[in-house]
Amino acid sequence: MNESPTARQLTPTASQPVVTMVSGPVLKTCPSSSLSMNELVEVGKERLLGEVISLDGDVATIQVFENTSGISPGTKVQGLGLPLYVELGPGLIGTIFDGVQRPLQYLHHQWGDFIQRGRIGNPLDRERLWDFSPLLSKGEKVASGYILGDVVESELVTHRVLVPPEIEGTVDLIVPPGKYTLDDVIANVKASDGTIHALKLFHRWPVRKIRPYAKRLLPAEPLITGQRVIDTFFPLAKGGTAAIPGGFGTGKTITQHQLTKWTDADIIVYIGCGERGNEMTGVLVDLPQLLDPRSQRPLIERTILIANTSDMPVAAREASIYTGITIAEYYRDMGYDVALMADSTSRWAEALREISGRLEEMPAEEGFPAYLASRLAAFYERAGQVETLNNKKGSVTLIGAVSPPGGDFSEPVTMHTKRFVQCFWALDKEMASARYFPAINYLQSYSGYSRKVEPWWRENVDSGWLELTEKAMQMLQEDAKLQNTVKLLGEEALPDDQKRIIEGAKLFKNDFLQQSAFDAVDTYASPQKQFLLLDIILYFFDRLAEVVTVRIPLFRAMELPVVVKIHRLKFTHKGDDPAPFLAIRQQIDQEIGTLLQQHHESSF
């Protein structure tokens, strides 16, 4: 493959690096003097995008974000003088990017159905006009993070145009309200040393660098997901971290999709990292059709998608996580609550392993590089609720799916992830086989936020929330113990007071924990509904105790018509109105009352 001299206006100099070795997505180039660590490079006449990942003597190692077929030793490499960055500005919402922020809709429009290499487009549309309304005027002092003005990005999101980090000074010029493209200068800021920074609607930020904020806050508000088992037992907080580990087919992706759809965050960033193409398409098809339960607007209007499917180049898969989190931090800096879903962090870790293997680094556990744990820690540390530079409250919540090989939670990625997250939603193969969804194993899962979010529930829903959830969990724990006996002796062998626990837990598992993602009503449960449902089931469970005490056979109570009504509750009511739940409570009173009375009468 000879370089044709006219192909590209590279001016070969003595220090222009050339490729000396190609192995999969990894290149070595020499000399390296003109390159710096993490610098972006373009390789060859097709201008394949790459990143410098190590410098050793005169040799630079580069990971290439595209297929390297046909690259030969001698191919020229051009440093771009900046690290891997993302463009941050209006136009992110509703867009689907690949792992290095190439806009996939644009690529499709421009180059067709398949992703060809070397085809790069601007991440953000340069031609679209945005309605900008300035919030500052000439002469005001600004610093990084100040809001220059607003752009309505979608019906759901007002984009706050920020003074980029590391810029400070006086507003020298700011444009009047009107329509502007991303390339138009909307403000000039004069620094104290006299330099003038021309600001546009967008700026760039390196993906591997945390965006600055004023102060970290402690998570205290729950992030409501509308999924009962999560909100009730293993709640997540705004600015918190969670992991969903589970073998294949245990419903990781469905759970992530459910969270993407129903979480009450302002912005959702969804990263499909090394996952299936059809799944990403499914998300793309669903989100414009589904409505946000709060605003009744299509969910796509608050969502940003990053797709690096498993057949796309592995180095871009590694980058996709950072691209996603940097975008999330950017919206956090505007004062929004952002939830980021990464499906799956295991694919990201495997991309690390693959690159590390090509570099012939000394492997640690299961071939993963020794820096796996520190990279994971650094990633999850980018979550948090913060006070932004402009004194607003914003948060990034991280929810990472983990795909442990063979469903074995003792493998390195799951193990290390566990160390850095506060919420652990363990998916269970056996529950999934019985089509029990969400298959979150309530005995293995945990959340460090239950007590932190309790004040919110007390204030907004009911003061008895924590007590009820603890009572329900206690019932499930006792049930789990009894199930061991049941496995050996059968349910019939238990006395009625123990059977009551089995029956109560069964009711609770079927009619509360189990939640259908495909049922129009059941798919989302408001905090109110969760509480009412929890309350009803536990109330019935309490009343059963009376039945058992007077030695009425338990099955007679379980045959009461109200039980069927309880079964149907989750499918029939959205919980905005407590009346139907109160009616069921009355029916419980009445039917149990009758039962007790009949027994009372017959025993005389």
Partner: protein, 484 residues
């Protein structure tokens, strides 16, 4: 294949070298190569003048490492010549030269017909499909097999592997699917691409006969790398097959079903090459990029919004020692949209197909079924079957401990249900082609063996419509259902 057209595409010049630096297993190294690229196709001229094929695995200033698909035996270091063809592995395909034919694992004819000559040359590695361009798969394919149609529905554009074990009859099942697979409203062109990697001669012949008997042979192209063919060739066979499938689907508008068997042999060939190259292994000696490599095959399935055809994949793999957590089934399951798991204990009970529905799954099922596609009760009745069978299996374990006499009356009904489910629902004849309506009605008959309060996954109105009838309901057949 032996007469590549060098002028097409971005091909570089052909470079020829004589003499090898090193031969190691399936790999050879050539020193002092200038201008050859990574992943380039290579021809190796043996000392006796025959041509073998290969591909550049890694290249540096001084040494190019090449994998030789036909193996390295008989090569010497002095007179072997190596030709770099200046482009990745390519194949020219046209519809006329493809269907109704049998080829070897590199695409050379085995049936005495012509070699590929017409048609555009295509890179066998393919290109990733832009997720934006994909159309979501949601068209039901009726396979006529109850365990699949009823509980693990296959849809057009899906990749649904069969996880089997050595000695289980996965080949019969795959052949039956090929014979019976039809869309409910299917008159359009369909084709079958069959890629064999390291399968025995009689297995391949069995497939051919089965295609012939059912009259689909004229729509089939077979690419055969048999057990005694070179192992490294297996790395290229599925890529050629999928390139052919993509061509038929996305350029000729056909609905293509691709059978890849046996993926375990493919993965072993990959491990062999990686080990010879001295790469750092990850699990069980397989290379760290096994996931990415498998994904580059499996992801070549799907539908596109702007084009009429589809590629549906049924890869078959044998789980070493029936272990579903082995890296091959494990990584496959993470990429494919579900799996059909065959079970030795069912096979021992003489149940064919021995599909264990509990670990089986079709991820695209919920979008391909329901009102307007199959029947509105499909999802719920399938869930009920799953829940009931899972419970029945637990009950079986219990009964084996405390004895069948001592379990509750309801539990006894569950045991009865399990037996009926296995004997009447799972089990069917090799040529038994059940319509989806027959499958669903059968499912209803089975769940009604259980007391109604156990049927928590079904809605009361569904039980009223479908469950109370002694004989199949007269609500019209499925096609009528679809029109209303």
């Amino acid at each position: 294949m032996n007469n590549p057209d060098h002028t097409i595409g971005t091909a570089g010049p052909i470079l020829e070298y004589i003499g090898l630096e090193r031969i190691n297993g399936p790999l050879l190294a050539v020193q002092g190569v200038k201008g050859a690229g990574f992943d380039e196709q290579v021809e190796i001229v043996t000392p006796d003048g025959k041509i073998r094929h290969g591909r550049v695995l890694s290249i540096s200033d001084d040494v190019a490492v090449i994998e030789v698909f036909e193996g390295t035996s008989g090569l010497n270091q002095v007179t072997t010549r190596v030709r770099f063809l200046g482009h990745p592995f390519e194949i020219a395909i046209s519809r006329e030269e493809l269907l109704g034919r049998v080829f070897d694992g590199l695409g050379n004819p085995l049936d005495g017909g012509p070699t590929f000559s017409e048609g555009t040359r295509r890179d066998v590695n393919g290109l990733p499909i832009n997720p934006v361009a994909r159309a979501y798969p949601e068209e039901f394919i009726q396979t006529g097999i109850s365990a699949i149609d009823g509980m693990n529905t296959l849809v057009r554009g899906q990749k649904l592997p069969i996880f089997s074990g050595s000695g289980l009859n996965h080949n019969d099942l795959a052949a039956q699917i090929v014979r019976q697979a039809r869309l409910l409203s299917d008159d359009e062109g369909f084709a079958v691409i069959f890629a064999a990697m390291g399968v025995r001669h009689d297995e391949a012949e069995g497939f051919r006969q089965s295609f012939e008997e059912s009259g689909v042979l004229k729509n089939v192209a077979m690419f055969l790398n048999l057990a005694d063919d070179p192992a490294v060739e297996r790395l290229i066979t599925p890529r050629i097959a999928l390139t052919a499938a993509e061509y038929l689907a996305f350029e000729q508008g056909m609905h293509v079903l691709v059978i890849l068997t046996d993926m375990t042999n493919y993965c072993e060939a990959l491990r062999e090459v990686a080990t010879s190259k001295g790469e750092i292994p990850s699990r069980k000696g397989y290379p760290g990029y096994l996931y990415s490599d498998l994904a580059s095959l499996y992801e070549r399935a799907g539908r596109l919004q702007n084009r009429p055809g589809s590629v549906t994949q049924i890869p078959i793999l044998t789980m070493p020692d029936d272990d579903i957590t082995h890296p091959i089934p494990d990584l496959t399951g993470y990429i494919t949209e579900g799996q059909i798991v065959l079970d030795r204990s069912l096979a021992r009970k003489a149940i064919y197909p021995p599909i264990n529905v509990l670990p089986s799954l079709s991820r695209l099922m919920s979008d391909g079924i329901g009102s307007g596609r199959t029947r509105e009760d499909h999802q719920n009745i399938a869930n009920q079957l799953y829940a009931a069978y899972a419970k029945a299996r637990q009950t079986e374990r219990l009964a084996s401990i405390i004895g069948e006499e001592d379990i509750s009356a309801t539990d006894k009904l569950y045991l009865h249900f399990a037996k009926a489910f296995e004997q009447r629902f799972l089990k069917q004849k090799y040529d038994e082609n059940r319509t989806i309506k027959e499958t669903l009605d059968l499912a209803w008959q089975l769940v009604m063996l259980l007391p109604e309060q156990e049927l928590t996954r079904l809605k009361p109105e569904e039980i009223k419509t479908y469950g109370t009838m002694k004989h199949p309901p007269k609500v019209g057949d499925v096609n009528q259902k679809m029109s209303d």
